[in-house]
Each structure stands twice: as C-alpha cells, then as structure tokens.
C-alpha cells in the first residue's frame, strides 16, 4: 500500500517537474528502474517476514541500479546485450519476491481467522 502511494507521488512529481534525461541514457535508465523495483519488492517481502534491514535495502537499491545500468552500458560498448541478463534476473526475482509476498499475505489473512 505504502509502495503504491509512493509510486503515484513519484510519478506526479516527475510529471510536474518534467525532468528529462538525455537520449543516450534512456535504455540504461530502464534497466536501473527494474533493479530498483526488484529491491523494493525484496524490501516488501522482508518487512512482511520481519527481517528488514535498512542498510542492506539501501545498498541493494542503489548498488543494483548502478550495477545494472553499468552492465547495460558496458554491454552496449562491447556489442553484447548484457542488459538482457539484468532484465531476466531482476524480472525473475520480482516475480519470485511477489510470489513470496503473496504467500505471506494470504497466510497472514488465514491466521487472523
């Protein structure tokens, strides 16, 4: 819930201030966004299973984003689409995390009965 509200606020902020990134950074940005999304889902899962650690979350959030963008950039320079690796790994992890979050939420709802 908190995440969705934050997302909406962020999108609104971005539209209002109209921050534009240069042309050539656009593909790397998409990969970085995917990494950030993965971190957020991980944090959601951790907070539900009560083992959330802020330092790990922050380092993962920025570290993953930078690494993903950097790898995509490197892949572009080398002519190898490494960004695909980032897309597959983070995409898969987002689904994994979502599955665990779902399970946790459903179990919580069941135990309340």
């Amino acid at each position: 819930m908190v995440g969705i509200i934050g997302l909406i606020i962020g999108i609104l902020l971005g539209i209002i201030f109209k921050v534009n990134i240069p042309d050539q950074f656009s593909p790397y940005m998409s990969v970085a966004i995917l990494a950030c999304l993965d971190s957020v889902f991980g944090a959601l899962r951790a907070s539900l299973s009560k083992n959330f650690q802020p330092d790990i979350f922050i380092s993962g959030f920025f570290g993953n984003a930078l690494l993903a963008a950097g790898l995509a950039y490197l892949g572009d320079k080398l002519g190898v689409p490494i960004y695909l690796a980032a897309v597959i790994v983070f995409g898969g992890r987002i689904f994994d995390n979502f599955a665990i979050v779902r399970r946790l939420l459903i179990e919580k709802a069941k135990s309340r009965h």
Partner: protein
C-alpha cells in the same frame, strides 16, 4: 517499530522509482517510432528531399537579399548609386509584371482552325475550331512547363488578363484578336518544347482534332509589354 521503518524506506524508494519511471515516460513521448511500408518510406524520403531542396533555394534567396542589404548599407553615403540600385530593381519588377517588352529564348506556337476540307457540316465542326478553352489549356501547360512570359497575338498575359470567347474572335486584355493565334512564350526552349510536345499534353489533343498546330523553338522570342490599366479601387494594403 521495525515494520514502520521498513515502510518509510519503501515509501522513499517507491517515490524515487516513480520519478525515474515518469522521467522515462515523458522522454519516450517525444520520439514515437512508426513503421513505414516501403512505398511510404519512399514518399517520406522524396518529401524529405523536396524539403531539403526548398531549404537550399530559400537559402539562396536569403543570400541574395542579404547581399542586397549589404550593398545598401555599404553605399549608404552615395545617394545616386542607391537610386541606381532601386531603378534596377524597379526594372526587374516591371519585367516580371509585364510592363516592358522582353525577349529571350523560348517557343512560338501558332494555332489556327482546321483546314476547310475537314469541315463536313456536322457537330464535329466544333472540334475543328480553336476555342478560348483551348487557349487557356495551352496557357496552363506553358506555365506548368516553366514559361516566364507569355503573349498571344502580342497581348501580354498578366494576372488580370482574360481569355474570353467573343464570337469568332477571342478577347484578351479587352482586345479582340482573330485566328491565327500566335503564342509566344519565353523560357527554357528545350524544356518547354519537350513538355508541350509530350503525349499527355493538350497540344496533342488539338492535333488529333486536326487543328493547325505549329510549334517552333527559337533563340529570340519577343513578348510585348502589357498595355492597359490596372485597377486598384477597392483593394488596400493590409
């Protein structure tokens, strides 16, 4: 407590993600890619080339104006040379407007009604005559082919010229003229000739109708000046 902390971090992180996403979305709006079929691509390519050539011709015009302006500026002190320049421009404009007699390479087209042996007292006789509409079509073709100045039986065609049916005569610039009609046109003679004699041109139709058509290229075609009055009773410069 721990849950609360996690919520705060999640909130901040999702705001950042939201901003990033909206950055990318607003960026993507600017460059929408469309896929073209080969003919569409060809059209777009031609259109691009056309625009480029338009730009280059506009640059040329700009340069001539720029030079003119420079000239005016550099000879600002000398009034008589400015007058000379203005007179030269006036002459140029008069030439374009048809106020002076001009000459140059071009075409001379003579149109006349068909030979009397083709007349057989039927409705077909109408097709053996040169009508005002025929002259208008030929005029349009000439203009399309790049003619710079046109006269018909020494009546200069200007923007106010009418080509009107007046019984057995034509009326151009208020003057009645009779067959044969000699159309003089100044322009690139090769281009004009090839254009006028091409199969889809109106002249071919006239030839099929047995109308006498005589087209000659010439290095020296004279087009007389427009003699008449322009009226400007109602129009005003806006």
């Amino acid at each position: 407590m721990k849950n609360n902390e996690a919520n705060i971090f999640l909130f901040a992180a999702s705001i950042i993600i939201g901003i990033l996403i909206s950055m990318n979305i607003s960026f993507n709006k600017g460059t929408t890619t469309t896929f073209l079929s080969s003919s569409q691509y060809q059209d777009a390519y031609n259109y691009k080339n056309q625009l480029y050539s338009e730009i280059s011709s506009m640059v040329n015009v700009y340069n001539t104006y720029e030079q003119k302006l420079e000239k005016y500026k550099s000879i600002e002190t000398n009034k008589s040379s400015i007058t000379d320049e203005i007179n030269k421009e006036l002459e140029q404009n008069n030439m374009i407007l048809g106020k002076v007699q001009v000459q140059g390479q071009g075409l001379s087209i003579i149109l006349n009604d068909a030979d009397s042996k083709y007349f057989d007292n039927t409705f077909d006789d109408q097709f053996r005559l040169v009508h005002n509409t025929d002259i208008i079509q030929v005029m349009n073709d000439l203009k399309n082919g790049g003619a710079e100045a046109i006269s018909i039986n020494n009546q200069r065609i200007v923007d106010s010229s009418e080509i009107y049916c007046s019984g057995p005569f034509l009326r151009i610039n208020g003057v009645k003229i009779a067959a044969p009609f000699t159309i003089n046109a100044i322009g690139n003679k090769e281009v004009l000739y090839n254009y006028m004699m091409s199969d889809e041109n109106y002249l071919k139709g006239l030839m099929i109708r047995k109308v006498k058509v005589n087209v000659t290229q010439s290095d020296l075609v004279r087009v007389s000046a427009f003699i008449g009055n322009e009226r400007a009773d109602f129009m005003k410069v806006q």
